[in-house]
Symmetry: C2
Subunit: 494 residues, 2 copies
Amino acid sequence: MTAFDSLERLFSRLSALDDALGILSWDRDVMMPGGAAERRGSGVATLEGLRHELLVSPMTNEWLAKADAGGDPWREADLKEMRRLHARAVAVPGPLVEALSKACSRSEMAWRRARDADDFAALLPDLQVVLDLTRESAQAIGEALGLSPYDALLDGFDPGMRQAAIAPVFATLAHDLPPLLGQILERQASAPEVGMVGRAPFPVARQEALGRWMMERVGFDMTRGRLDVSAHPFCGGATSDVRITTRYDESDFLPAFLAVLHETGHALYEQGLPAAWQSQPVGRARGMTLHESQSLLIEMQVTRSRAFVDFAAPVMARFFDDGGDWSPETLYRHMTRVAPGFIRVDADEVTYPAHIITRYELETAMIGGNLALRDLPEAFNARIKDLLGLDVPDDRRGCLQDIHWPLGLWGYFPCYALGALTAAQLFEAAQKDNSGLMDAIRRGDFSPLTGWLHRTVHERASSASTIEIVEDATGRPPGAESYLAHVRKRYLED
Amino acid sequence: MTAFDSLERLFSRLSALDDALGILSWDRDVMMPGGAAERRGSGVATLEGLRHELLVSPMTNEWLAKADAGGDPWREADLKEMRRLHARAVAVPGPLVEALSKACSRSEMAWRRARDADDFAALLPDLQVVLDLTRESAQAIGEALGLSPYDALLDGFDPGMRQAAIAPVFATLAHDLPPLLGQILERQASAPEVGMVGRAPFPVARQEALGRWMMERVGFDMTRGRLDVSAHPFCGGATSDVRITTRYDESDFLPAFLAVLHETGHALYEQGLPAAWQSQPVGRARGMTLHESQSLLIEMQVTRSRAFVDFAAPVMARFFDDGGDWSPETLYRHMTRVAPGFIRVDADEVTYPAHIITRYELETAMIGGNLALRDLPEAFNARIKDLLGLDVPDDRRGCLQDIHWPLGLWGYFPCYALGALTAAQLFEAAQKDNSGLMDAIRRGDFSPLTGWLHRTVHERASSASTIEIVEDATGRPPGAESYLAHVRKRYLED
C-alpha cells in the first residue's frame, strides 16, 4: 500500500466517523430524549477524541511526507486538503483544544442564562475565557499556516478565504446599503397595503405536505434524505443521507416554507457532491460561504422571484384549499417585504448584510485585541444605528442574540454575507448561461438551474477554492455588484 | 494512571462506540432513507473495525497482564468481563472475522431470495460457507476459553451458559410438553367460542397512545427512551437512551400492544442497569437469556395474567371508545389462546419451546459435524412433527423461516426458551417474596414487581453469571419446573 493509499484509507475512516457524528447530531436535535443529553455529550466527545487521535497519529505525518498523488488533479487536491486538515489539527496543542472545548460548554450555558436575563455582564467572564483561548488557538494555527490569527479562524470555515478579500467588499456594502435601504423603505411606504396570504390556521400536516412536495420538485432526492422538525431549522445528517428540518407555526405558513426551501438549497449541494469522492476530504463541500450561497440562492434569489411565485401560488392554494387569497401578487409582496429589525435571523435580504458587517467588524477588532469585551455592547449598538438606523433597546436584541461567539465560532459570520452576495452572483451567471432559466422556473422546472449549479459548484466539491469556483462559474471573484444590482432591480425597479 | 484505570478508559471509549453503533442501528431500521443503506453499511463496518482495533491493541494485553482490581467485587467482575471480551476478540484471526462477515452478508441476501422462492437448495452453498467458517471460529474461541465449539458460541450470547446445563432442561420439556399440549388443546376445544375484542378498525393513533400510556405505567422512563415504528419490533438504542419499536395493524390491536409490552420488558432491564457502571463491561446486561426473561416476564407472565387483564381491559375500552366488547374475560381468552403453528415468532407460550428445541438440537448437531446441511429440511420437519404434531408443508414454513443461521447467529436460539423458563421462575419467586404483587398489578401498580426485578436482576448487570443471578433470585438455577407449573395452572386449571 502506497503512502497515498494509506492516507485515503485513513481519511475514509475519518469520514465514517464524521457520518456517525452527523447522524448523532441530527438525532440529538430531532429525536433524542432529554435525559440522554449528558451521556450523549460525553459519547460524542469520545468519538471526536478518537477522530483527532487517528488524524494526528505519527503515521499520518510519515505518510504525508512521502505521499505522491501522481499528478491527477483530484488526487492532488485531495492531498492538499489532507495536509491542510492535518496541519490545523496538529497546530493546536491537545490541552488547549480541551480547555477551549470546556470553556465553550460553560460559556454556552452562561449565554443562555445571560440572554434570558438580558445581562451581558453575567456572560463576560466566561466569554472572556473563550475569546482568550480562541486568540491563542488562532495564533497557533496562523503560525502553522502562515496566516494572520483572524484569517486562521476564517480559513476554518471557508478554506482559502482571507480578510483582504472581504474587507473591500464589506466596505462597499456598508457604503451603499444604508442609502439604498432608505429608498426602498420610502418606495414600500407609498405602496398600497397588502392583505393576508391564504387563511390561518395553516394545519401542520398541510404545511408539511407542501414543503415535501416543493423540496422534491426543486430536486431533493428523498431516497437519500429526510425532512423532519427541530427547534431551529438545519441541514445535517451524513453522506448519502442528507436530513433537513423546519419548524411549523399554524398562524403563518411562510417561515416553515422558506426554511424548507433554504435547507433544500444546502441539501442539493450535499446530495450533488461527487459520489466517487464521498469519503475523501476533496469530496466535501467547499466551505460555509458556498454552502450559504446555495441555500440563499434557492431561498432568496429563486423562491422570492416573481417567476417562482407565479408557479408556487396556485400550488399552495391547492394544498391549503382554504378559500383565502392565494394570488401571486399578494404572496410576492409578503415574500419581498423589507423592514429593518434587531434580530439577524429574522432579517430580509436587504438588511441582512448590515447585521453581518457589524459582527465582522467587531470580531476582527476583538481577535486583533483592538476592542475589549466590556466595550462590545456599546460598539455593537453604535454600528447597528449607523447601518440600520435602529436604537438597540437591550443586549438581548443586541450583542447577546447570537450563540456564535459563546460557542467559539469566531470567523464564521462573514460567510453568511459572502454567501448572500455569491448567491446573487451565481444566479445572475446562471441566467446569462441559460436564457430560458426563469421561464423554466415559472413552469416549475428547476432542472436548468440545478443542472448549472451541479456543474459549476456541487460536483467541484473541494477540488478548488471558493474564489476559484466562483470565478470559474461567473467570471469574477465574489463581490457585491450582483447583489446590489439584484436589490435595486427587485426592490426599486420591479 | 494504573493499568486498571487505562482499561477502564479503553472500555469507556468502546462503550461510546457501542452507543453510537446502537443509535445508528436504530436509525437504520426506523429512520434511514433506503438510498443510504450501502454507505451506512460500510460506515458501520469501519466503526466496528476501529472498535476491534482498539480492543486488541498490544497495550490492552499489557494492561490486562498487569491490572489489579484491588478486591472490590464490581471491579473484579469488570476485569473478568474485560478479559473475557478481549480473549474472544483475539481468539479469531482477523482474516477469519472478515471472511465470516462477508459470508454472512452474502448468505443473508441468498436467504431472502431462497425463503421467498421456497428453495432451500439455493441457500445451501452460501449457508455451507457460513457454517464452515462458524465452526472454524467456534473452534478457535473454544480453544482460547477452554470450551467446546458449541459452548464457545453459546457463551457469546449468554456468558457462562453451557450445553451441559441446557440439555437436561430441554429434554424435560421435550418429554413433558407434547402430552401437556394435547390436554390443553382438548380443554380449549370444549370451551365456548369467544367473540372479537373491541371493534376493528383500531386507529393507529389510538393504538400508539394506548401503548405509550401502558409502557409508562409499567415503568418505562420516557425521558430516557422512545417508542417508534419499524418492520420488526425491537429494543435498541444506547445507554440512557433506550428505544423500542412496534408495528401497527388496524385490523387487530393485540400484536402491536403485546410487542410494546414485550419490548418494555427489555427496556426496563436496560434502563435499570446501574448508572455508575454504564460505560463498563460489568455494567451491561448479562446476556440474551436474562434479557429474554425480562421481556417474556412482562409479555407472557404479566400481560396475559388475569390480574393484568382486569386492569387493562377498561383502560383499552377508554382509549378505543368504540362500543365493542372489552370485557376482561374476552380479552383474556384472546391473550391465552393456544394453537400449534409453523412459525416460531407467532407461537404462543405453550408451543414456543418446541420450535426452540428443534433448532437447538439441529444446530448442535450441525456444529458438531453430526448433521449435514443438505439433510436439515428433513430433520427439521421430523422434529416439528414429533413435538407439535404438524406436517411442515414447505421449507418457507420450516427451516427457511429464521434469519439466524444465515446471519451466523448459531448458539442464539436456546436463549429464547431459557428466557421463557427463567421468566416463569423469576415471576414465581417475585410473588413468593411479595404476597401483594398480583393485587398490585390488578390495580395497575407495577412497582412491587419492577422493584423486585430491579434488585434481583437489573442492577446486578454483569457482576455475576446468569445462573448465579437466577439462583440468588429464586433459590435454584434456571430450570423447567416453574414454567411447566405455570402452563398447567394457566391452561389446565384456571
